[in-house]
Amino acid sequence: MTEHESNDRLESQLHDLYTTPEPTPAFTRQLRARIIEQAGRQRLNWSAKLWKGLTSAGRIAFSLGGAALLVGLALLGANLLAARFEPEQVKSPTLASASTPEATDSAIIFKPPQLDPLACATVITPQPSNAGSNRPGKLLGGGVVKSGDFQINLYLFCDSSFRPESSTTYSEIAGLGIYQSYWYNGPNIDEPATKTTVYHEGQPYTKEIPAVSLQSGTRMSQKTGFFTDPSTIPDWSAPELPMQFRFTIPGERGRTYGALLSFRLINGPDGFTVHDVVVKGFNEAEIAQADQTFGFLPIYPTAAPESLHPLLDELKVLQERQRAWLYTDEGWYLQRMQWEIAGDPYANLPLQDSPSYVFAKSYFNDIWYKVDERGILLGSVNRRFRPDEGYGEMILNEESYILPKPGVQEGSFTKAPVFDEGAFAFGVEAIRQGGSITKQEFTGAVQYTITTGTHATRAVFDSHNGKLLEVSNYTIEKSGEMQLYSTAKTITLERVDEPPPDILNLFEKAPGN
């Protein structure tokens, strides 16, 4: 054997030696799920509502109480330069020819809440045991509990890097974080994947639901900021806010393990202090019945969204105008938007754990909404297409299934609430995160720019009827420069007698129809 060959053999042995251990499939699956969850939460930090709006192609915004479309639809498509609802011609303020600009950059009146610095100054709490090496710093309280074979650590901790304006270490309360970890010490469990039926181009096919896998000794830990239910706004001026954080772990046979972290926030001149921290693990009855709701339960006193910023009130009024303009009766509504992607058209299906798909840099998106006599959304079908290629893909939103193109791996939405308040909700979210809203008025139109730390959305509305004319999304560079990412113009929004047969056929496949 030559020296060269012998060195090759040695390298091969070294390779064998160092690549022998493999992470268990259960571990990699669980960590993957955790990463997706964390990624989703990061996304939530800067634009929860925006993405909700995105995913909810079919989650129209029809409101219950009043036979009126909920904000969404209105905003949504409302605009239409459609033939049927041809609005007065308005030049987009994004054009150079825009007239009579009148910038009114409103001051932010909302001051994000913070932890009283003194609350952290004297804290000395023993570190949690069995927490792995990802231990938090100064603990404000918490504990370790059992839920089935899981040992769960839940602790509140002080960390100045967690802040409302941070997109990566976001926390609604500056300086406050939540440490979460579990350690599984039960038997190894490998449940088989289950199957369900979905429809592709009207034909049924089988979709696999991932299996549950648990390996004894598996443990996970993460540190997150403080984040309340995004559909509520805590009343931070209240003297006391009761809080409950629900930590859940999907287990075998549909069981949900977890624990509840309860505490009180007491308001003081320099911020909040934390009191009466209690952790309780789910007992057997709770494990059998619990759902997988994760995060803060909305038990705290809440405030009216428009109290956060004066321009939010204006957005709300615009939405109401739009709703009144659009909704006439039960039946079908069609929205067509024209999309132009300026950046790379890669992205992920929200709530799904797989990247990534290029549809097109320029395409149309049709959504047919079916609404009942009370203005409530019954379901929707979404179709994207390029004029040159005809059919692109269709999505049935009633049961949140996505029907992919032939040859493309399927994906699915998880069923989410049919609720979106469009610009108003996105504005609320932005302000909650310490972002800003600015306004510019033009002849017949008004433009709002909603900015968070890393992203901005610019929406143009018809001043008279509140119709959304155009939405542009930007990323904000470190230099502060705004880079256009995508633009969507509403081409049509109208009530239609009935959708085309292929759309109707797909809609009728939805369970319950």
Binding site: S6, N7, L10, E11, L14, H15, L17, Y18, T19, P21, E22, P23, L31, R32, I35, I36, Q38, A39, G40, Q42, R43, G53, L54, T55, S56, A57, A61, L73, L76, G77, S129, G132, S133, R135, S221, Q222, W339, Y346, A347, N348, L349, Q352, D353, S354, P355, S356, Y357, F359, Y363, N365, I367, N382, I395, P404, Q409, G422, F426, V471, T475, S486
Partner: protein
Amino acid sequence: MPLFPLITTALLYTSDAVDLTDEKLVEQALKASTAFAALYDRHVKSIYRYLYSKVSSHAEAEDLTSQVFLAALESLHRYPRGVGFRAWLFGIARRKAADFYRKRKLQTPLDDASEVASPGDSLLVQVAHGQSLQALAQLITRLSEDEQELLRLRFGGELSFTEIGNLLGMKESAVKMRLYRLIERIHKAMEAGND
């Protein structure tokens, strides 16, 4: 409703991700952070192996692996272009492993003690099967920490010479030379052992 749709209403997974470079996937993940999963899929095994070879405990390697990827996700916007994603990721892994040893020196809860292998308990010796691999593993334990690290990065992490250079702040040629000499030395030591 797509009131403020960001991109489009439904984006599906295709095999496209398989062909994309790490840099491209990072770009995607910066726009839609769930795209980070593709980077995770691509590198989780090598990160785990590397950490396992450092800490000699499955549980700690798993815990550190989760920390590495969660930290990478959180700080992805600070990823320095041009360094190479793998080199950057292994940099995080090295820091996490260093933190692990630092914290373990400061505090080792009793409950955790059984999870951590004793210092003399070499992973390589544990996993080596066959006489020649056993001998090789024993030999490696006598190398300096820097030399062992070089082997871990090259053979456990499967990093290129350029990536190792970026990570350790060395020129590619220097990494190549150092590794070549190291393998030569091991080779000679193995031969001497066989004689």
